[in-house]
Amino acid sequence: MALKKLDVRGAKCPIPIVKAKKEMDTMAPGDQLEVTSTDPGSVPDFQGWVKTAKHALLKEQRMEKDEAGKDLYIHLLERT
């Protein structure tokens, strides 16, 4: 099981989900993808997306700060 990372800092919707979906499509079941976003709107949007997503589970969402103190929203997804 691999863990991939996707950095979408600075991007606004729909980019985080467009890129995450694209990445997930290339992954094997059980693989995980960690998405790092600066867009607070990505939190409810990832929750909404996985409700209908056929091959994605949302394992965890957490907030961190970058070096400059800016909020980061981190989403851990699993390919099913």
Partner: protein, 398 residues
């Protein structure tokens, strides 16, 4: 389109500006509004045209997950207008629909643009008054916030401006006048005032009264209760704007009586409710002050006085002329809180009726007192409609 040259080779998706879309929806034009925001955003804040608009809600991530199934939900042969929070996701979806042969346009800037859009509505005046001044009610539709521009001769005052200060400068310049003073009725809790920035840009006096318990961190030119401001300049016409201290919603709340007949009440008195006195943690004290203002201070004003507030609760409060206003005599009779006879009963009623405080109101108050904040934060705080009335009498259509 006079847009900047395309940097990408992607085909352009047709766009529509909020300012062009709203009048079409207000007239009842048959477009299908496709809202692609997430469920929460869609439930908590919607576009409110004067007439109902057929709306379909399919989140944009459904289009990303399964384009075909999502596009199949959109009826063929309709003019679709796609809306999201900021205009990015709706652009993606509008592009998908265009490719599928469905005529669609993207609402440029989405709900953010809707929340910033200002619609000036001219308040009808009697001929004698119209010869001396213009009174404009500027309706920030997305937030149901009202600001005012009073122009007499070559001079204008702006009351309760939103933070897009260039708009007011342009609007007054178009009328051949200059802004000589900027007034705020109170320290707003639901939106960031454009007052200080507008006054600074023009080097003109700015007024707000914060009142007891608040520390203003920016320069203000004080005005005393009962003082009058004369507008007109060297043109031979003039009017007076009288300052009336009307505490309650906040301890410093001030109303402005324009030409003895139009009372700009701020959040003191709305056309269907009164201002909530609970946003400072002193609901009893402020509630008593508000009762006193409504029952005593405003008692001297003639019933014919027109009340023009800083907010409205729903489109049912907009008159046939497009103006949110009411005769003071009518409001004394129809606003539920105005019927209450004693201060204690009044305080109990407004305490019991208040809703959730506005989002981030404590932060917004600090910015309006002079604290700094980033555009990004302000934009986030200002999302959604105002929550400034003590009660939300269900207005028709709201």
């Amino acid at each position: 389109m006079a847009d900047a040259p395309n940097e990408t080779a992607e085909p352009q998706v047709p766009t529509v500006e909020v300012g062009a879309l709203l009048p079409r929806l207000d007239r009842g034009e048959k477009v299908l509004l496709l809202d692609v925001r997430n469920d929460d955003e869609f439930e908590t804040w919607k576009i409110e045209p004067h007439r109902p608009v057929e709306t379909l809600h399919v989140p944009y991530f459904d289009f990303i997950e399964d384009a075909e199934a999502s596009i199949a939900k959109i009826p063929k042969g309709r003019d679709v207008v796609v809306l999201c929070a900021q205009g990015g996701s709706s652009e993606l979806v509008a592009g998908m629909l265009q490719e599928a042969g469905i005529s669609s346009a993207n609402v440029k800037g989405g709900m953010i643009a809707y929340g910033l859009y200002l619609e000036p509505v001219r308040v009808p005046l009697e001929a004698e008054a119209a010869a001396r001044y213009e009174l404009w009610q500027v309706n920030r539709r997305g937030k149901a916030c009202l600001s005012y521009v009073v122009v007499s001769g070559e001079e204008a005052v702006v009351v309760d401006p939103s933070r897009h200060v260039e708009w007011y400068q342009g609007f007054v310049a178009e009328r051949g006048a200059r802004i000589v003073r900027v007034l705020d009725t109170h320290v707003h809790a639901d939106h960031v005032s454009g007052g200080p920035a507008l006054a600074r840009a023009l080097s003109v006096p700015y007024f707000v009264a914060a009142g007891k318990g608040f520390e203003l961190k920016q320069p203000v030119t004080p005005l005393a209760d009962g003082e009058t401001i004369r507008l007109g300049g060297a043109t031979g016409v003039s009017i007076e704007v009288r300052v009336l201290s009307t505490p309650g919603h906040t301890p410093g709340s001030t109303s402005f009586l324009v030409d003895r007949r139009h009372l700009l009440t701020g959040d003191t008195l709305f056309v269907a409710s009164v201002g909530r006195p609970d946003l400072g943690g002193h609901v009893v004290e402020w509630g008593h002050a508000l009762f006193d203002t409504l029952k005593r201070r405003l008692a001297d004003l003639p019933g014919e006085t027109r009340v023009l507030p800083a907010h409205y609760g729903g489109i049912g409060e907009i008159s046939a002329e497009g103006v949110v206003w009411g005769r003071l005599a009518d409001l004394r009779r129809t606003v539920p809180e105005m019927q209450i006879a004693t201060a204690d009963a009044f305080v109990a009623a407004v305490r019991g009726a208040v809703k959730e405080p506005p989002k981030a109101y404590a932060e917004i108050i600090q910015v309006n007192l002079g604290a700094a904040a980033s555009e990004e934060k302000i934009s986030e705080w200002e999302l959604g409609k105002n929550q400034c009335a003590a009660s939300a009498k269900k207005a028709a259509g709201a």
